[in-house]
Amino acid sequence: MGFEQIIFYLFATALIMSAVSVVTVRNPVLAALFLIAAFFSSSAIWIMLEAEFLGVVLVLVYVGAVMVLFLFVIMMLDINTDLLREGFMRYLPIGLLIAVVIAAEMILVMMSKVFDKPIPAPLPANHSNTEALGEVLYTQYVYPFEIAAVILLVAIVAAIVLAHRKRPINTKSQKPGEQVRVKSSDRLRIIKMDAEKRAGS
């Protein structure tokens, strides 16, 4: 068994175990942590498949940004996990049935001839996955790529429209521009006045 295989099995085991733990663990924060571990292991596997760009971006986007916000929300909310677990046994048979159906479909598709290909030869070490991806994205797939950008734009606009509220007019707020521009003469008035005698002396 080579070094690579050992690493693969290490990450694959970690991936499966953490994925299972996401569902089974009781504490939601711990579940989120296991999800991070799962992302991490899968990104390692991607990197082993020579998809280093995707692997790193998975960590960058999902672990570095999405999961931070996830944790944020979970910590703010006091989730009652017992309530969520109610009726778990009742729904279990249906859930299992769906899982079996989906698994069966995936197996059926995997058995199709399209995937019956020889294992591709490893690419040379200086092959840049990022460059290859960029080239396809901006030529062959430029249309869906741009539409995806539009979808994200709509998401931003919609989120702002639905969530942003103007504050009441008489709210006090700071205007940093004015704060920076302020001069000592605006705040301090130096008055010339004659000396006065202390009363009683």
Partner: protein, 476 residues
């Protein structure tokens, strides 16, 4: 590269981004500049689309984009309908204090999504267009965000819509896994070499795709969201939901089932038939029980979408073009119906109960007449357009040998006529509860009159049907 084929889309996208930016710098007083700019953008896009009229099929963006007669006709229909929606909805938005530039920019993005769907030549583009459309629609449904019912409707729509997208995507990925291509023509080749009824994987993929399409069409048994969303959404948004997207979903079905899986028609015919029967039965019978006008129209939409799918069942050019004709004319009719609802609503509440229609003929005889036209058309009374639409569909179905389906469709239309006629009776033979006079702007009235005229004229002249037939023939 043939970017120029997508000129209308590119122009619309640039114009929408410009309007989005423009609106940020507009003061509340000049808000209507954004409205006029949106109309202008749609108008120019319409002209550009018309100019790109073609008799030949052409591909662009490495086969991602298809340009044919079908796409031109459907895009023009969608663009005109969205323009009409903008004109109709202005007074409503001002009354509800949601006259914001974002309404227009998000609607324009939705329009772009529909255009992408109509011109899609790959599974990827179908999905992207659908997502762009759906995401914009979720936001629009929740647009009146301080209204609890709006938010609830948006939530339901979003959750069910997301599930539907997931189903569709799963089906598409199965299809991709089987055929090894996202391009519809290659998928068609793959399907042609397969015996659909004995290929389990292909049937699975088809099932998921049909379920996803069913959700988006809003046909039974995937119709749960339709009444709630129609009722909860602001009336202009309901109008939007009921009209233009139906045309886009028709295009999607056309591309996916006919363009991609025509040789699997044996499979999807059998899957569509139960959906059609259920939608017609549930839609028409449940509509009778409604007292809320918007809910009633929602159930009537369900049954009409059953009719559109019925056109596909015949799996013939005549059937597809009849379905296309039905989708377009239904969108136009629904547009008018909801416009009347906008005219009837006032600042302190929407007119959405059946009772609000009482005595409309005395309050505003012209609106009452128009509403009668729209309702008769939906019921399928000759010589209005709805009758011809149903007729073409039934012709195609009977010639394909599904006589029993045609019988059910006719029976259910008769049941449906009951609640349309009830609404007309309320307008003409009952005393009004609300005596307030109704007055709308000239542009609103003019557009409504044109809309009514179309409902009469489109049926009497066969030109639209001929156009549909040409478009379908050329695209297959």
């Amino acid at each position: 590269m043939s970017f120029s084929l997508a000129t209308p889309e590119i122009f619309l996208l640039s114009a929408t981004c410009f309007i989005l930016l423009l609106d940020v710098f507009l003061k509340d007083k000049f808000r209507s500049i954004g409205y006029w700019a949106s109309l202008l953008a749609l108008g120019v896009t319409l002209v550009l689309t018309y100019q790109s009229w073609t008799e030949a099929k052409a591909l662009a963006f490495n086969g991602m984009f298809v340009h044919d007669t079908l796409s031109v006709v459907l895009k023009m229909a969608v663009l005109s309908i969205v323009t009409a929606i903008f004109v109709y909805s202005k007074p409503y938005l001002i009354d509800r204090k949601i006259f914001k530039g974002e309404f227009y920019s998000i609607s324009l993005f939705a329009t772009l999504g529909m255009m992408v769907m109509i011109s899609a030549n790959t599974l990827l583009m179908l999905y992207m267009g659908l997502e762009l459309l759906s995401l914009s629609m979720y936001a629009l449904v929740a647009f009146n965000r301080d209204n609890g019912r709006c938010t609830e409707a948006a939530m339901k729509y979003f959750v069910l819509g997301a599930i539907a997208s997931g189903m569709l995507l799963y089906g598409m990925s199965l299809l991709y896994g089987l055929s090894g291509s996202i391009e519809l023509s290659s998928i068609a080749e793959y399907v042609a070499n397969q015996k659909i009824m004995s290929s389990v994987a292909l049937l699975f993929a088809l099932t998921f795709i049909i379920v996803g399409l069913g959700f988006k069409f809003g046909v039974a048994p995937f119709h749960m969201w339709v009444p709630d969303v129609y009722q909860g959404a602001p009336t202009p948004v309901t109008m939007m939901l009921a009209s233009a997207p139906k045309i886009a979903v028709f295009a999607m079905t056309m591309r996916l089932l006919v363009g991609g899986m025509e040789f699997g028609s044996e499979g999807w015919q059998q899957m569509l038939i139960p959906l059609i029967v259920m939608s017609m039965v549930i839609g028409n019978i449940a509509a009778i029980a409604q007292t809320n006008l918007k809910r009633m129209l929602a159930y009537s939409t369900i049954s009409h979408m059953g009719f559109v799918l019925l056109g596909f069942v015949s799996a013939s050019e005549g059937g597809y073009s009849a379905a296309m004709y039905y989708a377009i004319t239904y969108a136009i009719t629904a547009l008018g119906g909801f416009a009347i609802l906008i005219a009837l609503s006032h600042e302190d509440g929407d007119a959405e109960e059946l009772d609000d229609l009482r005595g409309l003929s005395r309050r505003h005889p012209w609106y009452a007449f128009m509403m009668m036209l729209f309702l008769f058309s939906m019921a399928g009374v000759p010589p209005l357009v709805g009758f011809f639409a149903k007729l073409y569909i039934l012709q195609a179905v009977v010639s394909a040998g599904f006589v029993w389906l045609a019988v059910i469709a006719v029976l259910m239309s008769v049941v449906g006529a009951f609640y349309y006629l009830r609404a007309i009776k309320l307008m003409y033979f009952d005393k009004p509860i609300d005596e307030r006079s109704i007055s709308m702007s000239i542009s609103f009235n003019a557009l409504l009159s044109v809309n009514g005229l179309l409902v009469v004229a489109l049926g009497l002249t066969p030109s639209l049907m001929a156009l549909c037939l040409i478009a379908i023939k050329q695209s297959i």
